[in-house]
Amino acid sequence: MSREVLSSLRKIDKDRNRFHEIVRGKIKQDLKKYVKHHEMIGRKGKNIVSIPMPQIELPHFRYGPNPKGGVGQGDGEAGTPVDAGDGAGQAGNQPGRHKIEVEVSLEELAQILGEELQLPRIQPRGENQIETYSGRYTGIRSAGPESLRHFKRTYREALRRQLASGIYDPEDPIIVPVREDRRYRSRREVKKPDFNAVIIYMMDVSGSMGKEQKEVVRTESFWIDTWLRSQYKNLEVRYIVHDAAAREVDRDTFYHLRESGGTKISSAYELCARMIETHFPPAAWNIYPFHFSDGDNWSGRDTERCAKLLNEMLLPAANIFCYGQVRSAYGSGQFKKDLDRAFADDDRIITSDIPDRDGILDSIREFLGTGR
């Protein structure tokens, strides 16, 4: 018995893995829901997120909610509220319906997103690659530290030497390695291309961008982050907000700031261009500027200036330039039309219309579906 317990020690792992696969399938199935409500996804440490989902269970014929209630124990008069067990509506001697939290790594989440949206893996720009060295202990050599000694190979050398020199006695097969027999693992260095990438988020925070619009932006950028992070080892993120003037802010401010006033989009593009110039030379960086706005600009003249900035500064430097237009009650949506007209045949710029939360998934697909 005890032997049985020990030998089946981690038998459960197989079942756990299978369960994990099923969970993954469920996340994929309900991805739209999770994308829409990314606040459901809790951060757990640096690389793990926890996702709430209804308990996966085998269906059984069972009763629905019992109008007659159940039986409990304790003090109280009729009318005293009863803490219904797990708070899920069922209580007492009725089984509760649970929610479970499953933990998934960000990388896996990105992978699920990629599979579901059929996003191509990003091909980093070829000439800009930086080489890094990484090594694996795949080689063998005759000198090295004892901690890296390769027992099997050492034994083999000793055996070979003893056989060759006739010391080996099959009746008494003792192998004694000497200094020359010792073999050590050695590190083979491999050149690996490595890429740096930066996302520059720009958002219109003028009066017409409401709370809901910001939430859409926040949600979409969470998923863009997640995807790009899975594609690049080193990902930097910068945030720019603008109304009539632009400035760089930190992440928190970016999402929560509410300004009012007019909108001069060119101010943001100018700042972005300056940022690229000073910090992110295109030769060393993959650059992803994202701009979100409700499509209202100060004037047609400013829009022309934007187009000029895009043409001369941003598009040549960026892998891809994405403009997402969030629909709001006040925005005219003119800017997207203008961009589309100005860059009709330019595949370096992608514009996308995001009507509401439901549109996020499609918009992500439009932005990242190019594989650049």
């Binding site: 018995m1 005890s2 049985e4 317990v5 020990l6 089946s8 020690l9 981690r10 038998k11 459960i12 792992d13 197989k14 079942d15 756990r16 893995n17 299978r18 369960f19 994990h20 099923i22 996966i56 085998l58 269906p59 059984h60 014929f61 069972r62 009763y63 629905g64 909610p65 019992n66 109008p67 007659k68 209630g69 159940g70 039986v71 409990g72 124990q73 304790g74 003090d75 109280g76 008069e77 009729a78 009318g79 005293t80 509220p81 009863v82 803490d83 219904a84 067990g85 209580a91 007492g92 001697n93 009725q94 089984p95 479970i100």
Partner: protein, 523 residues
């Protein structure tokens, strides 16, 4: 690390076992094993059997147990397996006093397993047979593929509550009785009689002018109808509703060999676990009664009293919204013991209507111990509570009935009337608190379709889940399946034609009932 007991614990075990025998407990040989938390969680996830077949739900279970343990929310003290020999797993990290408590508790369970009537038909070599089941299913996975086997297994498991716990006690006749026993002779005679009556018709012999008096038309019509019904019942399949749906499927669904083997395994395991669900309150109450009796009377060292009391009361704790089976069980056993000690039973006591006298009633009979041993032998939770739960007990235990307040949407106490409390409690335990589903017709509309019926008894089915479950019935039956139920007072039939398709539902009409259908189908 070894799983055997430390010498210290071994000594304690021998001592406790001696006490248990002295008290009159009677159990199979019991094997104790010490496991670490992760091992114990693993065994618990497998339902106590380390060699169980592979299935994802065990992995899910393990994840939950592991999380509960890591965050300090839950901890398994012990696991006992109904088997001969009985296996008991102890948590290695338990303190010494806890281990003693747990061992005393375990002997209570073992005694219950061995002696309670409802366990009498369970497989006592389940430890071995579970391992065999594991081998069989693993072999089919290798041969057929995980996807297909898993899908079918999930389907079977989703129906594993559709069994008839009483059927274990049915004495089945050997196939085709060929002896000349009186039984059969009698049957043949009856059948011949029945035929004769039918041949002669339903009318008494009478002169034609007397006929309308001797054979009133209403009676004749009634008789004719009765005979027609009987004839119909004879051709109906199955002749009477079948509660053991799994068995019906096993015998009559078009299963491949691997499917039949898997279904049979699921059914066997369901029957093995069924008595544990039927006697949860009694079983835990009995084991708690004995650990508390033995610990406080014999085992406890004075230095351990506080720890013991702390852990015992932790186990017995109940919160308003959650009934604790340990608590309810131990209290009722103690109550019975006290009542039979004082002679508070029988006609004289029942008919006494002086409350004061009843309270002081004491005949010094001392029958309590004997009575509870008898109770643990013959009862299950439903009969246990039905027979022994009375007004005094309900009030002393502060039991109440709660329900949802439609205005606030909150659960609140409705009533402390003991009759309502008792009936509600019994309802929630009957058939494990699950709906009764029967096979009504295995050849519905004469098209080989399966017609299930839900015997509505006050509470509607959870319809969306029922629809999912019905798909699994369809998966196994391989032909359209129907479920007759009742929703908000209206008869309803759910139909599933294809396990991957949609469920359709229609309202019941006389023409959809299987009885009429048989009549149409067979003339």
């Amino acid at each position: 690390m070894t799983t055997s007991l430390t010498p210290e614990l071994q000594a304690a075990r021998e001592q406790i076992e001696r006490y248990a025998i002295e008290y009159g407990l009677d159990f199979f040989e019991t094997v104790f094993e010490m496991l670490d938390a992760d091992q114990l969680n693993e065994v618990a996830a497998f339902g106590g059997f380390p060699t169980r077949y592979p299935h994802w739900r065990f992995g899910m279970e393990y994840n939950q147990l592991e999380k509960g343990y890591t965050y300090g929310l839950s901890k398994i003290y012990e696991l006992v397996i109904n088997n001969d020999p009985c296996y008991a797993y102890l948590m290695r990290s338990n303190a010494f006093v806890d281990q003693k408590l747990v061992m005393a508790h375990v002997f209570g369970h073992c005694d219950f397993f061995k002696n309670n009537l409802w366990f009498s038909k369970t497989d006592r070599k389940m430890m071995d047979h579970m391992a065999n089941h594991g081998t069989v299913i693993r072999r089919w996975i290798d041969r057929i593929g995980l996807q297909e086997v898993e899908q079918f297994l999930d389907g079977c498991l989703s129906l594993d509550n559709l069994i008839d716990p009483h059927s274990m006690f049915i004495r089945r006749k050997l196939s085709a009785p060929r002896d000349d026993g009186s039984d059969e002779a009698q049957n043949t005679q009856n059948a011949r009689d029945a035929r004769n009556t039918r041949n002669e018709g339903v009318k008494f012999r009478a002169k034609s002018y007397m006929d309308s008096f001797v054979n009133p038309r209403a009676r004749t019509a009634r008789e004719l109808e009765r005979i027609r019904k009987e004839a119909r019942a004879e051709t109906r399949f199955p002749p009477a509703p079948v509660r053991d749906v799994l068995e019906f499927l096993l015998h009559h669904a078009p299963l491949k060999r691997w499917q039949a083997e898997i279904l049979e395994i699921v059914r066997k395991e369901a029957y093995y676990f069924a008595p544990q669900a039927m006697t949860k309150i009694m079983n835990e109450g009995w084991a708690s009664y004995w650990h508390s009796t033995m610990m406080t009377q014999k085992i406890l060292d004075p230095t351990e009293v506080i720890d013991y009391a702390d852990h015992h009361s932790g186990t017995m704790a109940s919160s308003p919204g959650r009934l604790n089976p340990y608590k309810l069980g131990i209290e009722l056993f103690r109550d019975i013991e006290q009542r039979w000690d004082c002679g508070k039973f029988g006609k004289e006591y029942e008919e006494c209507d002086d409350f004061e006298v009843k309270c002081r009633w004491n005949r010094n009979l001392g029958l309590g111990r004997k009575k509870i041993f008898e109770v643990r032998r013959t009862h299950n939770d439903v009969t246990f509570l039905d027979s022994f739960m009375n007004q005094e007990f309900c009030e002393a235990q502060k039991l109440f009935n709660y329900g949802i307040n439609r205005r606030t949407g909150q659960y609140e106490i409705i009533d402390r009337d003991w009759r309502k409390v008792k009936s509600q409690l019994l309802f929630s335990l009957t058939n494990w608190g699950q709906p009764f589903i029967h096979v009504l017709d295995g050849n519905y509309r004469n098209r080989g379709e399966l017609y299930l019926g839900h015997s509505w008894n006050g509470v509607d089915l959870q319809l969306d889940v029922a629809a999912e479950t019905l798909k699994n019935v369809c998966l196994i039956w391989n032909r359209p399946v129907h479920l007759e139920t009742c929703l908000e007072g209206k008869g309803l039939i759910l139909t599933c034609e294809d396990p991957r398709g949609e469920i359709t539902s229609q309202e019941m009409t006389p023409s959809t009932s299987p009885e009429e259908q048989t009549a149409i189908g067979r003339g």
